[in-house]
Amino acid sequence: MSEGRTLHVHILRFDPHLKDDKPRIETFELREAPGMTLYIALNDIRKYLDNSLKFDFVCRAGICGSCAMLINGRPGLACRTLTSKLDAHISLAPLPVFELIGDLSVHTGNWMRGMSERLETWIHTQKAPDIDRMEERMEPELAEAIYELDRCIECGCCIAGCGTIQMRESFVGAVGLNKIARYRLDPRDERSDAQLYQLIGDEDGVFGCMSLLGCADVCPKELPLQSQIAYLRRKMVQIGK
């Protein structure tokens, strides 16, 4: 029975905007409620115990990617984590790599935007659509396959779980490589493999990856990162030859 447990939530806290503030772990105790998620728990802490606690939730339904943090050391979406599945002692820390805003809140947005601008994650085409006319056809299976890769929510878990990025700050990460795989699959994007090679054919891209697959284990959307990165690497090796 998890109902009625006392939870001890240990949170790594630091506010870079406060002079003299130092990173420290603070522990909050609260009573567990049925169906409680970390979203509910953290809001209760903010409401009743410490109103300065910083964290980010938007959809609170596992859809928007805002709430990734280290939960007992492992990157995950806090809103989708039921406390009943955790031990009564829970440790929470902000995702590493990203700029810290305060406590559990990190600036994933500007990292993702930088990655996106670097890899130009949009459809490149010379054609201007005539939107009065019927849309171009696409095989139903291909549309689904593209959607499979389009499902990334830019939560940053794969970045936090990646060994390469700890050593190479400019590495685009699984999230970036997956995007290239997605656009490569999409016939509407006219970029050739040679052009994509310019973007990811180096140590900051597909050749930086050590295939340790920390990313695939932690991706909350269960994207096929492993097979996509491997496939992309094979293609890029061919181009590089």
Binding site: D15, H17, L18, G35, T37, R46, K47, D50, N51, S52, L53, D56, F57, V58, C59, R60, A61, G62, I63, C64, G65, S66, R80, L82, I101, G102, S105, H107, G109, M112, R113, S116, E117, E120, T121, W122, I123, T125, P129, I131, D132, R133, M134, E135, E136, R137, M138, E139, P140, A143, E144, I146, Y147, D150, R151, I153, E154, D186, R188, D189
Partner: protein
């Protein structure tokens, strides 16, 4: 003092705001987007179900066109919508979806040949046409005659928003994340931009622009349980209200979605019922056919939500510690279908309920979902009372949904309104009226006022705790401004909210004293704003003594066109007053393409408008005189002439091919 100048300031980085930004940029204007969160995290990402556009590709959508989409939308609105706006919308929706297809949205496609579907709890075989193979397909949604809701597997809003944000990146649009608009800067009936607060550093900046567009989404978080994201707090509405000049339209028009999970209120998409899922009661009995023999689970949302509530009141709900609920049964769709087209639903069931929806029923009940009301604008998206202030998307009331929105019409609206309003804004920016004519002294006054408010909250004495006020407000809205409404409860709600408003003028932020990133400070100033917005909803609902669409008055069950075919307009002229000013704007029956009639649910209790028979006869005569649907439509309404030229072209379909 920091001042940034631009041509167009867009407040909000959801689908509506981003499409507006892309549009004005295309017209050569500079543009800055302010958003609370990275744009891709906006609430638009949560739309799982789909987007309506009358492409008529799927076999069950065959024969669909703008006219049928128009009728569905007007009926759905219970004749509360602006028919000209709806006409512009249905005409542009197919273009919007085709544009998004070109921008990378992987819309699910028609596959030629036979496939199984569930219709009315029966397995049927549908055969898709070979000529439609590879075109965008559609599913069924409530309140529509045809299958018109286009989708990408289970993540329509996500894919749309990502494609849109990527487009904005491509166009180099300046997006400022974690910036909150705090107040509009205005003078002499003209809006010049906004004061914005950096949510990380706390810095205030004035953004001065020729045109300002509010695209901040809905106000669902006024209720304690809602399907909306945590940032859908009606702050954009409060910004408009606090000018004292701009007006809000039909704020009492609020939709409750039939199937949010209990207790947390996370939505399971209408696609569940569109694809064949059914509702069951405590006895496992499918009750909707008893109430709505024709449309059953796929009656309009407001109708299904009321029927469910009625059924629960008859004692047929399932008891739980969180109150009574009903069951949504999608087990009959089969695991394969659920795992592909309803995967998001499956994930939600697993993560938040710990159940497998392919085997178990889902506990659901009607929950606040959508804000039909919003910042009152004309068809161009501009406030009639505050020039230079525009609004679009869920935040606006240009009035496409009237008193009830159809599922799938909202994401369609965000994009269409963004496309159109961008053009009208660009046109406005080419006129001399758009010149920026405001002194730095005035700008400074606006910044200083915001700074002073923040400092008062932080340094004030022993005032009220905003968390307490906020919770009280949410509970009042929950208990008294819900699905069924009556004078007694609404009166109480208004009085209690007035009391909260008074108390909110004296909030103190305890303990957490930083002027930089500070959630307690944010909660304090937003609570002050939200209570005002809540008052426009509750007061509007109290005054409207009829039932229309989602506004259901137990003490006035009839739709009363005679007295209430009007739009509620609220404003807040004096900051010290405790109630909004309310006036009404009539809808002109004599200009309607579809004169008021009966929606076809329950008993017809309508009290008709005196002009209705006259207009109905006129419309009949016009229809009889024209066999061509385009000529007929033109004779009925000149709305389409108001469209920007580039969007006036007809839409091609399999049955209406262009000569190449």
């Amino acid at each position: 003092m920091k001042i940034t100048y631009t041509d167009v300031l867009v407040i909000g980085g959801g689908l509506a705001g981003l499409r507006t930004a892309v549009g004005v940029r295309e017209r050569g204007l500079d543009c800055i987007v302010l958003t609370l969160v990275p744009p891709k995290r906006s609430h638009s990402a949560a739309a799982q179900g789909g987007m309506q556009a009358s492409l008529a590709n799927a076999i069950m959508g065959e024969g669909d066109n703008e006219d049928i989409h128009f009728e569905d939308t007007i009926k759905g609105s219970d004749w509360g919508a602006d028919q000209e706006v709806v006409r512009l919308f249905v005409h542009t929706a197919p273009k919007a979806i085709r544009e998004l297809a070109a921008w990378g949205v992987p819309w699910s496609r028609v596959k030629a040949g036979a496939h199984q579907a569930i219709i009315n709890a029966q397995k049927v075989t549908l055969t898709e046409r070979a000529e439609a193979h590879g075109l965008i397909t559609a599913r069924d949604f409530g309140g529509t005659k045809k299958w018109r809701t286009c989708f990408t597997s289970d993540g329509t809003g996500h894919s749309m928003l990502y494609a849109m944000d990527n487009k904005a990146h491509e166009r180099g649009i300046e997006i400022r994340e974690r910036r909150e608009a705090m107040a509009l800067i205005h003078e002499n009936g003209r809006c010049y931009g906004a004061v914005s607060r950096n949510l990380m550093s706390g810095e205030l900046t004035a953004y001065i622009a020729k045109a300002t567009c509010i695209a901040t989404g809905g106000y669902g978080r006024l209720w304690s349980v809602t399907t909306n994201a945590t940032i859908c707090q009606g702050i954009g509405h409060a910004l408009a209200l606090e000018t004292g000049v701009a007006e809000l339209g039909n704020m009492e028009a609020v939709q409750f979605h039939p199937t949010a999970i209990v207790p947390v209120g996370i939505l399971t998409t209408e696609g569940c019922r569109g694809d064949g899922g059914v509702l069951r009661d405590v006895d496992g009995y499918r009750f909707m056919p008893d109430y709505e023999p024709e449309k059953k689970e796929l009656a309009s949302r407001d109708v299904v939500s009321r029927r469910m509530t009625e059924h629960i009141r008859k004692g047929k709900g399932v008891k739980s510690r969180y109150g009574d609920h009903l069951w949504l049964d999608i087990t009959l769709l089969g695991r394969a279908h659920i795992e592909k087209n309803l995967r998001e639903v499956k994930e939600i069931c697993e993560s938040f309920l710990g159940i497998d929806p392919a085997k178990e029923w889902i506990p659901v009940r009607p929950t606040q979902h959508y804000s039909m009301g919003g910042i009152k604008t004309d068809y161009r998206g501009e406030s009639p009372t505050l020039r230079g202030l525009f609004s679009c998307g869920e935040a606006a009331c240009w009035d496409m949904h009237g008193f009830n929105r159809l599922g799938g019409n909202s994401v369609a609206e965000t994009v269409v309104s963004g496309m159109l309003v961008a053009e009208y804004i660009a046109d406005f920016c080419q006129t001399p009226q758009s010149h920026i004519d405001i002194s730095t002294a005035t700008i400074e006054r606006f910044i200083n006022a915001e700074q002073a408010k923040l400092e008062a909250l932080i340094h004030g004495g022993s005032g009220e705790d905003s968390f307490v006020l906020r919770e009280a407000m949410e509970q009042i809205m929950m208990d008294k401004v819900g699905i069924f409404r009556n004078a007694k409860e609404l009166q109480e709600a208004v009085e209690q909210l007035q009391e909260l408003l008074r108390r909110s003028r004296n909030i103190t932020v305890y303990r957490s004293k930083s002027l930089a990133a500070n959630p307690a400070l944010v909660n304090a100033y937003r609570t002050q704003k939200m209570i005002k917005v809540a008052l426009t909803v509750a007061y509007g609902a109290l005054l409207r003594t009829e039932s229309r669409g989602a506004h259901a008055r137990e003490d006035y069950p009839e739709r009363n066109d005679h007295d209430w075919l009007v739009r509620t307009l609220s404003s807040w002229s004096d900051p010290e007053q405790s109630l909004p000013d309310v006036r009404y704007e009539p809808l002109d029956v004599m200009r309607m393409e579809l004169p008021p009639g009966w929606r076809g649910y329950g008993k017809d209790l309508t009290i008709h408008h005196p002009d209705t028979p006259t207009r109905a006869a006129e419309v009949e005569a016009i229809k009889a005189a024209h066999s061509d649907r385009f000529a007929r439509q033109k004779a009925l309404s000149a709305a389409l002439e108001k469209l920007p030229k580039k969007y006036q072209g007809r839409n091609e379909r399999l049955s209406e091919r262009f000569e190449s």
